[in-house]
Symmetry: C2
Subunit: 332 residues, 2 copies
């Protein structure tokens, strides 16, 4: 069954089961917010052939990743999600089951943080496009912002990096993974297909600062890569950084897939791991590493200046200056 | 200069001047809300070739109309705007000036209600797509909802209807407007190109109910046509309606363009006038007509049952039952 067989109203009727019934039927959704909080808003667009393709991404995973990217942006601000809206552009000959699977992926990812879909719009287009806007609420005395890094802070990354890129490469070229265990392989592919936005880190951070609010923690997510996050934080904070190559939170299995320099590239520039990159006083960072059961890594420090340097304290390599040019750019 | 010449970062740099500087540079925008209000969220997508085309719509007007459609949805809930996000899908060979004109149109329409652009995303696509999400806040004791119409209410429309459709037809077939004065012509075209969301009606409504809150006023906007609005309100409220043909708020100049039955069609089904259709007790409706300086019309009443009937009290025509089938549907 194609979308044109059931039309806009028919498709909307099928999608309503994914939304809380109380929000359906008006020009907009009405949501109650917690007094004293500020509203946080973020938006992302995914386009077929640019951000996903049938080769590597099922419609379920397109939905999961779209939700994850937006929830990750909320986590990167320290915000708790309130809801998302879903704008869809769809070709009339697309299968209705594709759209239902997309919504199943969206709601499966949203379920973890109990985030509802509170609105949407669908229209005809030649290219599948998924436009998500997420909104959350944040305690104005406890926010995460890019501009707050200070000289002397250390850089901390949650999770591992390069795994999403490795998973994508495994999907594109299955034979490069011949050396990997089935478990390692699945784990990398899942990192690409169903990344986890790190909203779970926020309560730990709040605990760390329980006695010292108001606070603005420095950080952002690593959706465009670990290197990009460090560069953006440094630019916004007018500081430099030194990244210790041996301390990078590299996905171990990558070493079995590609050469060491390429593994380094994936870790720094792969993107879409949707982890948090934070700049914290060292004692807070160490406590957070403990609280997350070593699910976080201190990999560098903030220094004066504006340069972001990649160093090898063993002295085997010259110092490398990182730039924004390597980040993912559209239109080129 | 095309978008591919300056890339994503170059384009973002040019668009930043349209956004308040304090919201730029993080993963999301942080907005302060008024204590005691609820959040209202609405989203709309416009696609090149579906919702607009170069023949009838300049990029400035695409932006104006996109902002207007979303602000109209907020007005239709009784909400005051807080901000919008703008998601853009753009072909790499599109002129940068096109995107700047789009943003000028957006901000010109938003300026009237002092609504900021607080976020966005841009990406590559084969078809220009503009995805807007608007946020507003509403006093939970004073909302406009579709489900609140009661038997005995009268139906009121702000403004006139069919003008946007007439303007579109004049743009597509300029020769049909040969009988029209330049002023009438311009006015219809402007109704299509730069419709005004009716946020200005809200303070009048609040005044009407100043001594009788909490209240849920029945209504919605006429973005999909006057008939669609009446049908949606009736369906949500489990009531019927009787529309008096001679009282319809028809754009006078339409009579010089097309036959009477076609003028009626445009008025009922034309859509995109972005006026408000309200169901109110008759005394409130009459006061609102006075307050708006006759910029509103009582055109029918709510009756028991589920049918929406179009009647001619002169008895010249048989009663007509309206259905949702005539509304604008995608995918067919």
């Amino acid at each position: 069954m194609q979308i044109r067989d059931i039309g806009e109203q028919g498709l909307l009727a099928k999608l309503q089961k994914f939304c809380p019934p109380e929000v359906i039927g008006d020009d907009g959704a009405i949501l109650t917010t917690t007094p004293g909080t500020s509203l946080v808003v973020t938006t992302d667009i995914l386009v077929d052939g640019v951000h996903f393709s049938d080769r590597t991404t099922t419609p379920f995973d397109v939905g999961w990743r779209a939700a994850a990217a937006n929830l990750s942006d909320l986590a990167a601000m320290g915000a708790v999600p309130l809801g998302i809206t879903v704008g869809l552009c769809l070709p009339p000959d697309l299968a209705v089951s594709w759209v239902e699977a997309l919504y199943e992926g969206l709601t499966s990812c949203l379920e973890i943080s109990q985030t509802p879909i509170v609105g949407g719009d669908i229209c005809r287009s030649s290219q599948i496009t998924v436009a998500i806007t997420a909104f959350g609420e944040v305690d104005p005395n406890f926010t995460i912002r890019r501009h707050a890094a200070k000289v002397g802070d250390v850089l901390l990354a949650t999770g591992i990096h390069g795994a999403s890129k490795a998973g994508l490469e495994l999907l594109l070229n299955p034979k490069i993974g011949a050396n990997l265990s089935a478990l390692a392989r699945e784990s990398l592919i899942k990192a690409h297909q169903q990344p986890n936005p790190r909203l779970d880190v926020l309560p730990h951070l709040q605990e760390l600062y329980a006695n010292s609010t108001p606070v603005t923690i420095a950080g952002m997510d690593s959706s465009d890569g670990l290197a990009d996050a460090v560069l953006q934080i440094c630019r916004a904070s007018s500081v430099g950084a030194m990244i210790e190559m041996s301390q990078l939170p590299i996905a171990g299995a990558i070493a079995h897939l590609v050469s060491a320099p390429e593994a380094l590239n994936w870790t720094l520039y792969g993107g879409e791991d949707f982890e948090l990159i934070l700049s914290l006083p060292v004692e807070k960072a160490q406590l957070l590493v403990e609280q997350l059961g070593n699910g976080a890594t201190i990999f560098g420090k903030i220094i004066p200046g504006t340069a972001v340097k990649l160093v090898d304290s063993q002295g085997h390599n010259p110092e490398i200056i990182l730039t924004l040019d390597r980040g993912f750019q559209h239109f080129r």
